[in-house]
Symmetry: C2
């Protein structure tokens, strides 16, 4: 793990019985430490994102999300209760509304999913899992210090291989891998990527904690920030969805933060 | 509302369309303001806890808790998934274990419920709802500056009518009412009341936020603190439950706090 990982992430990992080996914070530094550890111990590498097995495994969350959304949207018509239950999960569906009306989308399925993008494994998995469903997939990135590498790479038609950012969304500091970038840059799979500022991430995180009562780390708030504060995204939805709006699923992952980290984040 | 209520509670109430009228922080001061408001506007009082309708309404959470626990405990045997789902709700069941063994209770129902006690409406309701089920009901209070009024009242055989405490569990600063005290002091209904320190409440709150990922205010952590840190309670469970332990349900309410309040709480 990078030396600058949050204490809760390090301690949480150790609590599962793991031996934690530290490295610098860029993916190059990390990979060098991994290679040395493998040479020394013969350990088997489970890659964090740039591998088909990881991508497919992480993509199963999109299947759960579809199930949960179907349950919620059915309940939504029947009772107030139904709409509330989804707030419990790490995948929450919210009704994106046209700015000029309070009408909620009448479609009983997800129209779009927003997933945060760091190394891009989860986003690639979600995009792969949703092929053929008609559900649009969008990526969400922090913009701070070039953390929007996937977005920039897609725009340039070439993967950004090195990122050095200290965005508060510390789970999203990695560049994409060659496999994940191949999926993310395919417009048939990921329609677009939107980025948000540190302040927007903080505002979204505060909203999720204080009002939705869901304990998430900054990285998990990035998709919410896109849905709420990215004008480009919101204008696109208004235009494409029309007055009925869309049912948008937002992936919230993870919850590795501490009360001290929250205190520090919101006192600056 | 007391003038010193947390901003999130005040703003959350206003967001529902309410006109908020402020008072001092003791129940006497509050009741005086209520009487003046009723005289001025002809408003109808919905009492916060000391009324049969309120008690019965709040008690319905115990019915939901029984349902959720049955679902969880069934799932617990079948899959790891089942045990996890309950973490979403405001009522969470945990397996209390004997200190010397890792065996989890094999009973497939709740053995006990712990509920926080302020005015005592919710605890009275839970105790009333669980009459005849065999599920033991326990109260949980902060001990700071005499906030353990229910416990002291039950011990003395006489309700403590005035409490002036600034415990961090600000939802539990009220004394019990005559109706709620009548129920709470009935050993057939509430078997016992345990109190915890401010530090124990903070430790339990940190655990719920950081590890259970459930966003709760200090008042909601008081029952968790009893289960984890009150030696008197733990010794009683070890003795009464034997090696199999109990399945204990803990009521978590509410979540009215802010990132600023959390920052303040954990920086002192």
């Amino acid at each position: 793990m990078p030396e600058i990982s949050t204490t809760s992430k390090i301690e949480g990992t150790k609590a599962q019985g793991a031996k934690v080996v530290f490295s610098g914070s860029t993916s190059q530094e990390r990979e060098a430490v991994v290679a040395a550890e493998i040479a020394k111990t013969g350990a088997i590498l489970v890659p964090p994102y740039n591998h088909p097995d990881i991508i497919l495994g992480q993509g199963t969350l999109a299947l759960e999300m579809q199930e949960q959304a179907a349950e919620m949207l059915q309940g939504y018509r029947g009772s107030a209760e139904g709409g509330h239950r989804g707030g419990c999960s790490h995948a929450v569906a919210s009704a994106m509304q046209n700015g000029t009306t309070n009408e909620v989308s009448t479609s009983k399925h997800l129209d779009a999913v927003i997933g945060p993008c760091g190394g891009g494994g989860m986003l690639s998995g979600v995009a792969t899992a949703l092929i053929g469903t008609g559900i649009r997939v969008y990526g969400a990135e922090p913009s701070f210090q070039g953390a929007d590498d996937a977005k920039r790479g897609v725009a340039a038609g070439k993967r950004v291989e090195t990122v050095k950012t200290l965005t508060i969304a510390d789970g999203l500091r990695s560049p994409t891998g060659d496999i994940t970038f191949g999926i993310i840059s395919d417009k048939e799979k990921v329609k677009d990527i939107y980025s948000v500022t540190e302040d927007q991430i903080k505002a979204a995180m505060r909203l999720m904690l204080e009002r939705a009562k869901i304990f998430i780390e900054p990285s998990a708030a990035v998709g919410v920030a896109v849905a709420l504060y990215n004008e480009e995204f919101r204008t696109m939805v208004e235009k494409e969805a029309g007055p009925e709006g869309w049912n948008v699923g937002i992936v919230l992952t993870g919850g590795n933060t501490t009360v001290e980290a929250i205190a520090k984040l919101f006192s600056t």
